[in-house]
């Protein structure tokens, strides 16, 4: 580390005193810096660092409600965070800058290395070094065989072991020093794997980008007995990439007949969900026959290029609201959104057509109601003892001004809360089959029954198979680059005193192999039926 520090401080001095580089040279210098391993490494670590806030600060794309909550609780921080893009870290300019630079650095590294690799594939194995005894492992022996015989056999042994082999035959003219060499090389797949892995990483990023540009995703609540057809207007929420075209939505429709939710009844994990299952029929495209479906968590329904996932469920109490004149102004199931593990659910009922005053109801649905003192709460997520606890509002629901409004919230600006006789807010507590009359002749509400709803997420992300394929290929490349060892070996023959001196040497570019044992084994194969070798290099065990 101290060395590095010195180097950087020297660089800094240099930068202060040296004249500025001409633009072309500067560009070259910059490019070399950008594509260097050190820069790639720093960018990688920066990417990891940059991702951290995305896990602590709520993200708009992951949980928009949490972002709104955060904004309410942290008045001063929120504008700063917002400016820094901390609520959408993974699409913020600074995060994008890091991974785009990393991509450029990666490509700038892959392309030249590919050329080098393809040249190396065609090139001959490297020349033998002059002195084998300086290599990590070498040995030598003398034999009466001719150099040709030794070289041929060595070459064939190495070829059989799938080495790339090239032979420099002894020069016939120079009788005095006839040197012959077998050059051999192995483990080319390592670099191929390395390149594959990095190319795969780029392809995965491209595939993810495709998905976010052309893909879409939306969710919708469907109550038992009701249906959904895949058009934009039917979604509760919908988001799509910049290049998505709404006419590309798969024109299917579905009808939810039955929703089955099962929960653990007893034991320590009482109330834990066991099974969610949505059954019904769907029509893949207009005019086609309807087919049954059975969607479960982990078992989506694929229609055309879209998929329908079961991502949530809950209860929709069926209510009928009558106004002061006795006319039915609302009737049907109203989805209440579960808030906790025992499915205490919140929701609102709106009756804008009621007269003399519009009516709004806000409150809780409790699947298994128990009284906790004066406060009802749910003890279990299954609908064993359902109850509806509601506060009542009258006045103007604010639906007339044409602004879109959430179906899960009341705009209380124009509303007044109804009071009971003792002056406290009026609270209705209904069980299925019960009805309640509202004070002041405003009307009545009846709780007719309970249905369940399923929340489906419907989406299409093009490029996901490409991403998967690239990721699998990437792992294969990674394995090759981690576990294949590039190896080199040389066998050299020399005539000496009428005999042949044979030298064998090995060299790896990565450490870890038992080179000594390798050399011994190769040598033993070269000279079956020859005298024992005289080992000069370090023996086995050398790392």
């Amino acid at each position: 580390m101290t060395q590095t520090d010195q180097r950087t401080s020297r660089n800094r001095d240099f930068a202060r005193t040296a004249p500025p580089l001409p633009p072309r040279q500067f560009a070259r210098w910059f490019w070399r810096q950008l594509t260097s391993m050190r820069t790639a490494l720093l960018l990688l670590l920066l990417l990891a660092l940059g991702a951290i806030p995305g896990s602590f600060i709520p993200q708009t794309k992951v949980d928009p409600a949490a972002v709104i909550r955060f904004g309410r609780e942290h008045q001063t921080l929120t504008p700063i965070f917002d400016r820094l893009g901390l609520f959408s870290v993974f699409s913020s300019p600074w995060f994008s800058a890091v991974y785009l630079l990393l991509m450029v650095s990666l490509i700038g590294c892959i392309v030249p290395r590919s050329f080098v690799y393809f040249r190396a594939l065609r090139a001959r194995p490297p020349k033998a070094p002059a002195r084998f005894d300086r290599l990590p492992a070498s040995t030598s022996y003398e034999t009466d065989e001719s150099p040709q015989e030794v070289l041929e056999r060595a070459a064939s042994v190495l070829r059989r072991r799938r080495w790339r082999v090239d032979v420099d035959a002894p020069n016939a003219d120079a009788e005095a020093d006839r040197v012959g060499v077998v050059r051999a090389e192995k483990g080319f797949l390592r670099e191929a794997g390395n390149l594959t892995f990095h190319i795969a990483a780029v392809v995965v990023l491209v595939a993810v980008a495709m998905g976010s540009l052309w893909g879409y995703k939306g969710s919708v609540i469907v109550v038992e007995g009701e249906g959904f057809s895949n058009t934009l207007t039917q979604y509760d929420d919908f988001s799509a990439g910049g290049l998505f075209n709404a006419s590309e939505l798969t024109p299917f429709s579905l009808q939810l007949d039955r929703f089955d939710a099962r929960f653990q009844i007893d034991g320590p994990q009482q109330g834990q969900p066991l099974k969610f299952e949505a059954q019904g029929t769907y029509v893949p495209e207009p005019g086609a026959d309807s087919q049954p479906f059975d969607i479960q968590v982990n078992h989506p329904l694929d229609v055309g290029n879209s998929s329908v996932f079961l991502v949530g469920q809950g209860y929709a109490p069926v209510v009928t609201v009558r106004d002061g004149k006795g006319d039915v102004v609302f009737s049907g199931p109203v989805p209440f959104l579960p808030e906790d593990a025992s499915y205490t659910s919140t929701g609102v009922i709106k009756a804008p057509d009621a007269s003399p005053q519009e009516l709004g109801f806000e409150g809780f649905f409790l699947p298994t109601a128990v009284m906790d003192g004066n406060i009802p709460r749910s003890a279990h997520p299954a609908a064993a003892n359902p109850a509806l606890a509601l506060f009542v509002y009258s006045g103007d629901l604010g639906l007339g001004d044409g602004l879109p409004q959430s179906v899960f919230a009341l705009d209380k600006n124009g509303l007044t809360q109804l009071q009971s006789a003792d002056g406290k807010p009026l609270r209705l507590l209904l069980q299925p089959g019960q009805a309640a009359r509202l004070p002041n002749g405003l009307g009545s509400i009846s709780f007719d029954g309970v249905r369940q709803f399923a929340r489906f997420e419907i989406g299409h992300s093009p490029g996901k198979m490409l991403a998967l394929g690239a990721a699998v290929l990437g792992i294969a490349g990674l394995l090759a680059s981690l576990f294949i060892r590039p190896r080199r070996a040389w066998v050299r023959t020399r005539r000496r005193n009428g005999r042949t001196l044979v030298e064998v040497a090995r060299l790896d570019r990565v450490s870890g192999a038992d080179l000594g044992a390798d050399v011994d084994q190769l040598t033993a194969e070269f000279r079956r039926s020859s005298p024992q070798p005289r080992t000069t290099g370090p023996e086995s065990g050398k790392d």
């Binding site: 994990q269 968590v297 982990n298 990721a471 990437g474 990674l478």
Partner: protein, 345 residues
């Protein structure tokens, strides 16, 4: 046996494993401290025990450490400088060796208990036994211990024992805090991807743990090699393999773990997420930290090939990677909200 009996057996076995890991850790620490003053190497070729042959190179420069990574380093019979110290040295040395062996024996016993504990947990819950935080911790530690014992068997890595068993005790202690009774899974977890995704994560995590332990030893040993004069090289640290050999071991374990982590976090995870939640990647806190872990370990592999980053810097990056893994497992479960809320707490 009914599920309740299996559950009781599992709890007892995990508790027993915790205690035995603790005892093993103490044994390793005694081995460590009792070899505090043992002179490791001597100018003459060391006399080796028959059952654990050790090559020791004679060297003209004087003391040289016995060839690393081969045979039991503690089997080196010490030829101390002063003749009268011989007996004392030999006694100390024998006692260290004995406690080291006791440590290994206890570790094997703890491993067996943990194995039975994890398997019987599976019978109790009637599914694979890694469906919540407690189960992942026990299954993950089973992997850690398995890798450790494998390394002991094939490369003599007993010196890792103190750190590994100490870590196991701490993690099992934490796991008891996250204990939930055996039971069925929530629907989102009810998939064969639970087997692939989580077991791959546990195997990779186990290997990361061993890699981190080796990296710590590397940092300590390489610092000592730089700063301790030859004549002061006395004690346990000098019985360890050289920093180069430790670095090599750390690299191999990480190289084994990284592709498995890649599969767990970036292939099996997204496929399952796509099945269960309708998107293959959604920057859920667990996903973010799995990604961070992956990026940091990718950084480690690159650092080992970058001038100026080899050695110390790379080892520190590996330790940061392990910290992010631990945070992904513990911190995200307890602090962050998101889809991966399966701690059972």
């Amino acid at each position: 046996m009914d599920t309740q009996q299996w559950a009781t057996l599992s709890n007892n076995m995990v508790a027993a494993a915790t205690v035995i890991f603790g005892l093993a850790c103490i044994a390793y620490l005694i081995e460590w401290s009792s070899s505090r003053r043992v002179i490791v190497a001597a100018p003459v070729a060391a006399e080796a025990k028959a059952d654990a042959p050790v090559e020791a190179k004679a060297s003209s420069t004087g003391a040289e450490i016995a060839r690393e990574g081969q045979g039991s380093a503690t089997a080196v019979k010490v030829a101390a400088a002063g003749g009268g110290d011989d007996a004392v040295q030999a006694r100390r040395d024998e006692s260290a060796e004995r406690f080291g062996r006791i440590g290994i024996g206890l570790t094997v016993l703890a491993w067996l208990c943990l194995l039975v504990g994890v398997v019987s947990r599976g019978f109790a819950a009637e599914r694979v036994p890694w469906g919540n935080m407690y189960e992942f911790a026990t299954a993950g530690l089973l992997v850690v211990t398995t890798i450790f014992l494998g390394l002991v068997r094939f490369t003599n890595a007993r010196w890792l024992g103190g750190v590994v068993t100490g870590f196991a005790v701490c993690m099992l202690g934490l796991a008891f805090l996250a204990y939930v009774p055996a039971g069925p899974l929530v629907p989102a977890l009810d998939s064969y991807w639970l087997f692939l995704h989580v077991s791959a994560a546990a195997i990779a995590g186990g290997a990361f743990t061993i890699g981190a332990a080796a990296s710590i030893f590397y940092l300590v040993k390489s610092r000592a090699e730089r700063e301790t004069p030859e004549e002061e090289r006395v004690g346990y640290l000098w019985r360890l393999p050289s920093s180069t050999a430790i670095d090599q071991l750390a690299y191999r374990v990480h190289a084994f773990a990284f592709p498995i982590w890649t599969f767990a976090a970036l292939i099996a995870g997204p496929i399952w997420a796509e099945h269960a939640w309708g998107r293959y990647w959604g920057w859920d806190p667990k996903e973010v930290w799995a990604f961070i872990t992956w990026v940091v370990y990718a950084g480690y592999l690159h650092a080992r090939a970058t001038a100026g980053w080899r050695g110390k810097a790379a080892a520190i990056i590996a330790l940061i990677g392990f910290a992010t893994f631990l945070f992904d497992f513990i911190g995200v479960n307890l602090l962050a909200s998101g889809h991966h809320t399966y701690s059972g707490l």
